[in-house]
């Protein structure tokens, strides 16, 4: 088949968008837009990387900081949330063997997160709104450097994402507990108790042990969704709080000095934000590893009950670790620094280590395995967290934090390696394993491109994290600029590794487009012709 024909119709014309169910279309929409936003993030990352090396003539300094502000948010919400939510809205009904509670609500989740991400990204692009670091809105608010209107639109965009996230949580829990039409009444309370880990907890203390009604990966999704819900509430509340400051500024009032205590606010905010990084991400990832390991190996999960219990521990741990973000805040009580910041945070080494071991042991029980695409990306994902979690534990130490906080070490070996290698490679593994199911048997265009994607992503991501880390250990700060080339050697190598990441992503994106064809991509966004609540076509 000619190149042009494949580009238009897809590999061997196997992908027929008109054969997709509404659920398949919904899932594919989440994934496609999530990947487009990932493209935004990679390009933004490269621009910043180059700017750190030498300021680019077409980017002003305020624009650089606006990119710096939008970059992690587009990555977290526009890319990761969309791909993860899309996959889970498909997988939870798939594993529960019943339809999604509401496809309509699923579509609203997709629309709100897509539009919300574009809104805050565009507001930042136009107005150069950049007071945030990571996701933190520092108070007191400073309006001398930023546009109030830009900020208002920016936060409205975030609010839309949060409403979409809330809809996702409702849909997940309703899907677990509801009774589909024509079914026998489902034991809603028992299902919910099983999903949240209450059944497992009770089993520890009774002789009459109840069976787990919910598969383990669904339990992981449910427990991670608790953190999504809490995080949504905190971010929404904080957004409203900042909007109060902004509306007051628009009306001519300065709320610079208010009753809101800066440190208390900082604790509140990091408690909520940490529910993402140290909560839902770790829980969702562990659950996904377990699912992938059982699907790849065809074997039951090793130490299933321990894995289930560890997910509950992880959820509770995620509510109590926020203080590791405040180890450099001298007014933070020492007891919080030691107990929450150091000791409870160290639990993540244990819970994530358990998930790592259980996944490897499950795979081991099925050897010899074929090195398939899902397996190789899963191993990459495992390696990513094995590298990034200990890096995080090191910086969550009272002594070491004094010389690591806010350096490139934090964002390099910890954040970028965790997200790019640990999380994203796990997501790629999921995409490769689900691809034939949600496309009704479409074929990947080129295995060579898959390999290019794998190696470029793995080496680029680890390499970039490593060079950022080296710069951090030599004193380079994050969210800063060095205009005299102080750290250029590290930034140059980090940029080369970033280029590998970009090549990897372009290979993947091109491969997917060639697999389903441009016609197929367009078809994903048209209304489904099959009217069914089933996940896949019945025949």
């Amino acid at each position: 088949m000619s190149f042009i024909k494949t580009l238009i119709n897809g590999e061997q014309e196997l992908f027929k968008s008109e054969s997709l169910t509404p659920m398949q279309k919904l899932t594919l929409r989440f994934v496609v837009v999530g990947l487009i936003y990932f493209g935004f993030v990679v390009i933004e990352g490269m621009l910043m990387r180059l700017y750190e090396y030498k300021p680019l003539p077409f980017i002003t300094e305020p624009q650089f900081f606006a990119i710096l502000t939008a970059h992690p948010l587009v990555g977290i919400f526009g890319s990761t949330y969309l791909i993860v939510f899309g996959a889970f809205l498909f997988l939870v009904p798939f594993l529960m063997k019943k339809p999604l509670w509401s496809i309509k609500l699923g579509n609203w989740t997709f629309i709100l997160i897509t539009v919300g991400t574009f809104t805050f990204w565009f507001a930042g692009f136009v107005s150069h709104y950049a007071p945030l670091y990571t996701l933190y809105w520092p108070l007191p608010a400073d309006f001398t450097q930023f546009s109030v209107w830009g900020g208002t639109f920016f936060i409205t965009g975030i609010a839309l994402v949060m409403i979409g996230s809330a809809f996702f949580v409702i849909n997940i829990f309703k899907t677990i507990v509801y009774t589909p039409e024509g079914w026998d009444k489902q034991p809603s309370k028992a299902l919910l108790a099983s999903a949240l880990g209450i059944t497992g907890f009770r089993n520890l203390f009774t002789k009459n042990k109840k069976e787990h009604l919910v598969p383990l990966p669904v339990a992981a999704v449910a427990r991670g969704s608790v953190d999504v819900a809490l995080n949504t509430a905190i971010i929404l509340f904080t957004g409203v709080l900042i909007l109060v400051y902004m509306v007051a500024a628009i009306l001519g009032f300065d709320l610079k000095s208010t009753a809101i205590d800066a440190l208390l606010y900082k604790n509140w905010f990091w408690w909520g934000l940490d529910l993402i990084a140290d909560g839902l991400v770790l829980i969702f990832v562990a659950g996904t590893w377990y699912l992938l390991a059982t699907m790849i190996s065809g074997k039951p999960l090793f130490m299933q009950n321990i894995a289930r219990a560890a997910l509950l521990v992880e959820l509770i741990v995620s509510w109590t670790v926020w203080s590791h973000h405040l180890l450099s805040d001298q007014a933070q009580p020492a007891i919080l620094k030691v107990v929450s910041g150091e000791m409870v945070t160290a639990f993540e080494l244990i819970t994530q280590g358990l998930a790592f071991f259980i996944t490897l042991a499950t795979l081991w029980s099925a050897r010899p395995l074929k090195m398939t695409n899902p397996l190789k990306f899963l191993l990459g994902g495992l390696l990513g967290f094995a590298l990034a979690v200990p890096a995080g534990i090191m910086q969550a130490d009272v002594g070491l934090n004094r010389i690591l906080h806010n350096t490139q070490w934090v964002v390099g070996p910890h954040v970028h390696v965790a997200i790019l290698i640990g999380l994203t490679m796990t997501l790629y593994s999921t995409i490769y394993i689900l691809f034939p199911i949600i496309t009704n048997g479409a074929k990947i265009y080129s295995q060579k491109l898959v390999n290019v994607h794998f190696w470029c992503h793995l080496t680029g991501g680890i390499g970039m994290g490593a060079f950022m880390g080296m710069a951090g250990l030599h004193g380079m700060l994050r969210r800063s600029l060095y205009l005299h080339g102080e750290f250029n050697i590290y930034m140059l190598f980090a940029a080369i590794c970033g280029t590998l990441l970009l090549i990897g992503f372009l290979s993947f994106f091109f491969n997917i487009v060639m697999s389903v064809g441009i016609k197929g991509v367009i078809g994903i966004f048209t209304p489904a012709k099959i009217k069914t609540k089933d996940l896949v076509p019945s025949s």
Binding site: Y133, D142, A262, F302, F347, P368, L387
Partner: protein
């Protein structure tokens, strides 16, 4: 007190060694799991040993650093110490307002840096001439931000804000304003 550069070197070596081991482990696993052989279930004893190892590692890391990183104990209990010198530094409108042009410190002095923000959240860090960091802390308005440090060698240091406070924050740098001189010079 041991210079923070020494601690960084130790950390770099430990983490690099760990990275090499874990990468080799995954490479070994990838080869073995796809190579010839029969699938065997892992013995629970190995699993529980691993859990025990992680628990010991997680707890002991902080105990070791507390007992080996010299500033850790002093930092947590700084109110129990009497500083040899105290410098009160104010921060406002993205500017450090210093008590004097230069902060002169004697080797082995315990120095308290008391930094007060009058508007936004900033950072306060001391950097060597090669741009490497000596230490840092956050500077939160409305709260006490104090850091006790003992300098064990002579040197000239630059103050820099270590927290993002908008684009203007990038330029919050006071070059070579901290001077550590021999103990004898002022005795």
């Amino acid at each position: 007190m041991v210079d923070s550069r020494m601690v960084i070197t130790g950390q770099t070596l430990a983490y690099t060694f760990y990275c090499i081991v874990i990468i080799l482990l995954i490479v070994w696993f990838s080869i073995k799991v796809t190579g010839k052989g029969k699938g065997l279930s892992v013995k629970p004893a190995i699993f529980y040993t691993f859990v025990g190892f992680l628990t010991v590692l997680g707890v002991s890391l902080h105990l070791i650093t507390y007992n080996t990183i010299p500033w850790a104990e002093m930092d947590l209990n700084r109110s129990d110490y009497n500083p040899d010198k105290t410098f009160v530094i104010k921060v406002k409108d993205h500017q450090f307002i210093m008590p004097s042009d230069k902060l002169v410190i004697n080797v082995n002095d315990k120095v308290l840096f008391d930094v007060q923000s009058e508007d936004l959240t900033y950072g306060f860090g001391l950097f060597r001439n090669d741009n490497s960091m000596m230490f840092q802390m956050q500077v939160v308005p409305g709260h006490r931000n104090d850091l006790l440090w003992q300098f064990d060698r002579e040197g000239v240091y630059t103050i820099r804000s270590t927290e993002y406070s908008g684009p203007k924050g990038v330029f919050m740098i006071l070059k070579d304003v901290v001077q550590v001189i021999p103990a004898k010079a002022t005795n």
